[in-house]
């Protein structure tokens, strides 16, 4: 998981409560979380331009609703929940658009990955990203949080609003699908 920010969530929230220190609070929150949230969104949508649109929406929602944040969960969990939901909503729209245009699903994934000028992977990584892109939106979020961010199931349960058992099953299933895709791609390339 990413390093803990030097300023605590309570301190950030306290700064954001007062008008005099609002800008300072804004900067503290951005400094602590913007990169982590961006990379989470980027792994969900892959393309930088799309990730940029989604993260902007996420952060605007965060700052417009920060006063409604009750502190029932950690700030970190709340931020990730918003980012995940926005990403899933975006992916659903994008996938629907692709399906409506009658494109072949895999060629669409490949096109999306290679069309991004800010994506320059090694071959193995390209295959892995293509494999992950075939997962359903929510399973993709589960996979990314566990595989890339080493997140405990308990935290994932808070973000994705589901049970630990369901998350384990979803992650194991996702691992098998990705593994199967990688094996097939390797077999076909031989």
């Amino acid at each position: 998981m990413a390093e803990k920010p030097s300023i605590t969530d309570e301190q950030i929230l306290s700064l954001l409560e007062k008008e005099a220190s609002y800008e300072q609070g804004f900067k503290a929150l951005m400094g602590a979380y913007q990169e982590r949230l961006y990379w989470h969104v980027r792994r969900m949508v892959d393309n930088h331009e799309d990730a940029n649109d989604v993260i902007q929406n996420v952060l605007i929602k965060v700052f417009r609703n920060i006063k409604n944040f009750k502190g029932d969960s950690k700030l970190y969990t709340w931020l990730y929940r918003i980012a995940t939901n926005e990403s899933i909503t975006f992916l659903k729209k994008r996938n629907k658009k692709a399906t409506n245009s009658l494109d072949d699903e895999l060629s669409t994934v490949a096109h999306q990955l290679t069309a991004d000028t800010y994506f320059d992977p090694e071959e193995a990584q390209l295959k892995l990203k293509a494999a992950i892109a075939t997962l359903p939106e929510k399973q993709k979020a589960v996979f990314n949080l566990r595989y890339y961010e080493d997140m405990p199931y308990s935290e994932m349960a808070n973000i994705l609003d589901t049970t630990v058992g369901a998350l384990k099953a979803s992650y194991h299933h996702a691992l098998k699908k990705v593994e199967h895709y990688l094996k097939n791609v390797e077999h076909n390339s031989l």
Binding site: M30, H172, V178
Partner: protein, 173 residues
């Protein structure tokens, strides 16, 4: 935790477990995060300013003074003066019309007024006449003028000629 995750990966996806997680191949524009922060602040900032403008005042007196100052701005003062002028003009016009109607009656003498009423009796209902001060005695002359004795005699002659019985006559009268 990391050990647990690694074991999970080895058990379910050995090929994936053997792959390196990084670099993922993602790139971002130069100074992307710095610019994102600045851009976002521009979008968030106006909302903050609005909150500052509507911040609570220190006391009701300050609020009252602020409102008076606001009303005394040249533009507001002109608008208020225009509205006041319209109200006064409207009031004067209404009063003048009412006064004119009263004056017409005031110019007539009591006899002239009575004469007018008696000449145009059918234009007035009973309540209006009583209100104007005409009693029963005022119309005695009128009744006399309407039914002179000669007329009554002629009417009776006519009825006799037509053989009208007493009951029918009562109905006529």
């Amino acid at each position: 935790m990391k050990k647990e995750i690694k074991e999970e990966l080895n058990n379910h996806a050995p090929l994936l477990a053997g792959m390196s997680k990084k670099p993922e191949g993602y790139k971002i524009p130069d100074d992307y995060f710095t610019r994102m922060e600045a851009d976002l602040w521009e979008q968030i900032k106006p909302a903050t300013k609005t909150v500052t403008e509507s911040a609570p005042r220190t006391s009701w007196l300050d609020g009252l003074i602020q409102q008076i100052n606001w009303l005394l701005q040249p533009r507001m003062a002109m608008q208020l003066a225009s509205v006041a002028l319209l109200i006064v003009a409207g009031f004067l016009f209404w009063n003048r019309t009412a006064a004119t109607q009263t004056d017409v009656m005031a110019d007539l003498t009591a006899d002239e007024a009575s004469e007018y009423v008696l000449a145009n009796l059918d234009e007035f209902d009973t309540e209006s006449l009583i209100e104007l001060g005409f009693g029963e005695e005022d119309f005695s002359g009128v009744e006399a003028a309407l039914f002179e004795e000669t007329d009554v005699d002629a009417l009776l002659d006519q009825l006799q000629k037509e053989n009208i019985d007493l009951e029918t006559l009562e109905v006529y009268l």
